[in-house]
Amino acid sequence: MFTLIVGGAASGKSRYAEDLLLRCAGGPLVYIATMEPFDGECRERIARHRAMRAGKGFRTVERYRDLANADVPAGCTALLEDVGNLTANELYGPGGAGEEAVVLGVEALFKKCHTLVVVSNDTNSGGAEYEGDTDRYLRALGNINRALAERADNVAELVCGVAVYHKGREPH
C-alpha cells in the first residue's frame, strides 16, 4: 500500500503521516529522512521531528538522494519525508541525478516496502511569476507529485491537519 500525503508548510503532514504509519504497521518501521542539515534551522527542524518520533520504534535512515539504493529491510513499513527536500537535493545537490531520479527512487523503495507513506510539499499555489531555478523547481515538483499520485493507492491533501482524500481512502 502506497499513500501520498501532500500539503503546505506546517499543515500537519508529518504528524498525520506518522500516526497513519503506526496504525497500519507491518514489518519493521523505517523513517527515511531527506533533509541535509546545512544550518541551525535545519538542525532545529530535524530535532523537532526526532522528538516527535521518539519512542515510536522508528529506525532512521538518512538518505539525501539516490533513494533507489536506500538501505531498508524488505517488507518494512516506511515513511519518506519529504519529497520537496529530495527534489532540491536531486536537482541542485552534489551528485544529484535530476527529476527522474526522485520518481524512480520512490518506485524502487516501494518495491522493498510492505507499506509506504510519502510526504510531499504543495509549493505551487503562491503566484505564477517565477523564473530560472525557482520555476524549474516548481515545475519539477509539480511533475513529481503528479507522477507519484498516479502510482499511489491513496492521495491525501493535508489542510490544517485534516486529510482530504483525492484518491483512494485513509488506509487501515
Partner: protein
C-alpha cells in the same frame, strides 16, 4: 463553460484537453488579468468564447513585496472568481486528480 483551476503544474492543461477541442480551450487565463481595467467584462467575453478555461491558483504563499506582482496576483485571483461564477462546472486539479468542486460536468 467549464472552469479548471489548481496549483501550478498540477495537470490542468492535460485534463482540460480531455474536455473539448483545442480551439475551444483557453489555457492560463491568469496571464490575461494583468493590466485589464474591466475584469468583469473580460470574464464575460472569455466565458462566451471558450468551452473550457484554465487558470492557476496563485493566491497562496506570501503576498509579494513587489507592488507590480501584488497587483498582478490580485487581478488573477479576481478574474478566477469571476470566471468560476460564470461557469457551469468548476473543477480543481490536484496532483493530476480532477475534483468537481461546484456544479456538474455536462
Amino acid at each position: 463553460m467549464i472552469f479548471v483551476t489548481g496549483p501550478l503544474f498540477s495537470g490542468k492543461a492535460e485534463y482540460a484537453r480531455t474536455l473539448c477541442p483545442e480551439d475551444e480551450l483557453l489555457l492560463n487565463a491568469h496571464e490575461l488579468a494583468d493590466g485589464t481595467s474591466d475584469l468583469a467584462a473580460l470574464a464575460e467575453e472569455l466565458a462566451a468564447k471558450y468551452a473550457v478555461i484554465t487558470a492557476a491558483e496563485v493566491g497562496g504563499g506570501i503576498v509579494p513585496i513587489d507592488p507590480v506582482q501584488r497587483v498582478q496576483r490580485e487581478a488573477a485571483g479576481r478574474l478566477s472568481c469571476l470566471l468560476a461564477a460564470r461557469a457551469d462546472a468548476v473543477v480543481r486539479v490536484f496532483c493530476g486528480i480532477p475534483t468537481v468542486i461546484r456544479g456538474e460536468l455536462p
